[in-house]
């Protein structure tokens, strides 16, 4: 089948199957990817997924960029939770370079990563609601994504593709306004989330549309290498934050919600509960920050962390480091490292091979959307088209992460 061309069925009246090109640009796919579906009435008989419409060769580009220039590439993977990707990349390089981070930086990172997780889950859950017909909740909760973006803006100046933080810490400390905005968010968001839940969690129409639809067993999910909320909805309590804690997640007290049947309703509930847990994490991090010395926002690694500009102008040593870092002449060990973080959609892994040069010899992203999505076509068989649409929304497939 040639996917560059739309597919038409012949007009043989005996052949009642209809071919539907769902995508590449279709309002229900929330991203650029195509599914060629064979339909018998409203039921899907078979489907073929075609992806790669926004493939940008990040792995190839990364082989020609110094480490700090790769951070903006990671922004564009899962652009709904860019800070998690940024932090994941920084931590991969820090692992390679054996940099120990101060606790305060770890806690700041936890705050920013959990905000990103909330914004990611807001998008997914409100879109499930939107695709089942509940427009109100979508518009209502989406304003909090805007508030999260305002917090990003205060910290790094950008909103969507954040490029937040640097290898070895943050580029600057969080300011008073950022903390005030985080506190305001912590106060206002629980109210809205509770209202969101009260509109949907026991809503008969919503449950009829989502419960017992697209059930996945734990065995199937593991067989297809699912991770993240999708895997947890099937009952497997795998969360990278717990199994291999990074950025001091071991200091925090939080729960990993799991579902039982792996259907769309369970995925929705798991994501909702994860937002509550993320709020708990942010609150704890804000408390812990009070016991940490003020003003520390990066590790003391002058050979890898860009010095302040006034230092560069007035201090010979800082000038040398500045030059070496900008020209990519840092001494990184010849080694290979795999580092995983819990992204919005699951295990986001960075496999980095360094040969001692300025750029990675090879960098591979383990992208959860890409790996999760391959089950979509097989599991759609026999499903109603309208169920397949909300199934796709509940998988939270982000085209940037799918195609890299």
């Amino acid at each position: 089948m040639n996917h560059n061309q739309p597919v038409y069925t012949d007009n043989d009246p005996q052949n009642e199957l209809v071919t539907l090109n769902l995508g590449p640009t279709h309002p229900a796919t929330h991203g650029v990817f195509q599914n060629v579906l064979q339909l018998d009435g409203e039921r899907i008989v078979s489907g073929v997924s075609t992806i790669g419409y926004i493939h940008r060769a990040f792995e190839k580009i990364a082989e020609h960029r110094p480490f700090y220039q790769i951070t903006p590439l990671t922004d564009r993977l899962n652009y709904c939770s860019s800070p998690i990707n940024n932090m994941g990349w920084h931590m991969t390089v820090e692992k390679l370079l054996n940099i120990q981070m101060p606790k305060r930086v770890d806690y700041l990172r936890v705050i920013i990563m959990e905000l990103a997780r909330i914004s990611d889950h807001i998008i997914c859950n409100t879109i499930i609601a939107q695709d089942t017909g509940a427009t109100t909740t979508f518009l209502y909760l989406f304003q909090f994504r805007e508030h999260i973006y305002e917090i990003y803006e205060e910290i790094c100046g950008a909103r969507l593709t954040t490029n937040i933080g640097r290898i070895g810490g943050f580029e600057r400390d969080f300011n008073e306004i950022a903390f005030a905005k985080i506190n305001k968010f912590l106060k206002e968001f629980p109210v809205a989330l509770r209202e969101f839940e009260s509109l949907l969690n026991r809503n008969r129409i919503f449950i009829d549309r989502t419960a017992k639809v697209a059930c996945v067993t734990a065995e199937q999910a593991l067989d297809y290498s699912w991770t993240g909320p999708l895997l947890r909805a099937t009952g497997v309590d795998y969360d990278v934050r717990v199994s291999e804690p990074y950025s001091s997640y071991q200091d925090f007290d939080f729960e990993v919600p799991v579902g039982t049947s792996g259907d769309i309703y369970d995925r929705f509930l798991v994501r909702n509960e994860e937002m509550w847990q993320s709020l708990r994490l942010i609150e704890q991090a804000m408390q812990k920050l009070k016991n940490e010395p003020e003003g520390i926002f990066h590790a003391d690694v002058p050979e890898f962390y860009l010095p302040a500009k006034e230092e560069v102008y007035n201090n010979m040593e800082a000038l040398i480091y500045h030059f070496k870092i900008v020209m990519g002449e840092i001494d990184a060990p010849k080694a290979e490292v795999y580092h995983a973080v819990e992204g919005g959609n699951g295990e986001l892994g960075f496999y980095l091979i360094n040969d001692g040069g300025r750029t990675p010899y090879r960098l591979h992203f383990r992208r959860p959307s890409f790996i999760n999505y391959q089950m979509f076509a097989p599991m759609s068989k026999g499903m109603l088209l309208s169920d397949a649409i909300i199934n796709m929304s509940s998988m939270n497939i982000i085209a940037g992460e799918l195609d890299a």
Partner: protein, 167 residues
Amino acid sequence: MAQVTNQELIALLSERFGDKITGIDEPYGLLTFHTTKDAIIEVLQFLKEDSLANFNFLTDITAVHYPEKKLGIAVVYHLHSMVKGVRVRVKVFIDAHHPAIPTASTIWNGANWMERETYDFFGVKFEGHPDLRRILNMDDLDVFPMLKQYPLEDPNRVDKKDEYFGR
């Protein structure tokens, strides 16, 4: 829950596969070893099903191109045992001129797209794969772009040489 150490795994694998397991290393605590093209499926099956190891989860499959080596393409598997909380990395070096290796999609369904991606970028033929087509690049591309001989920029341009940009 009994944990399993890298040493125990090395002992177990050496006992079962002998000299088919080479290049054992532990970069950053992650057990890494090389095996051969003929043994890979047996090794993966053993790692998945043996009760001590039980690497039931396939995290990732990818490849790396080393043009200067005799066997120039390394296919890299990352496995994970969620029960024991251990990861392992398995590498197979194959001939870059005729890259072929048996498919792991017989063991995990999730290997399907990971192998298609590896084929798409490195041209590795996964023998027995049910649907080995390009996945991210367009179908009529006639090169495998992640191989090192293909430059990132147009080589005819004189203003975009890598050395001008500190790369």
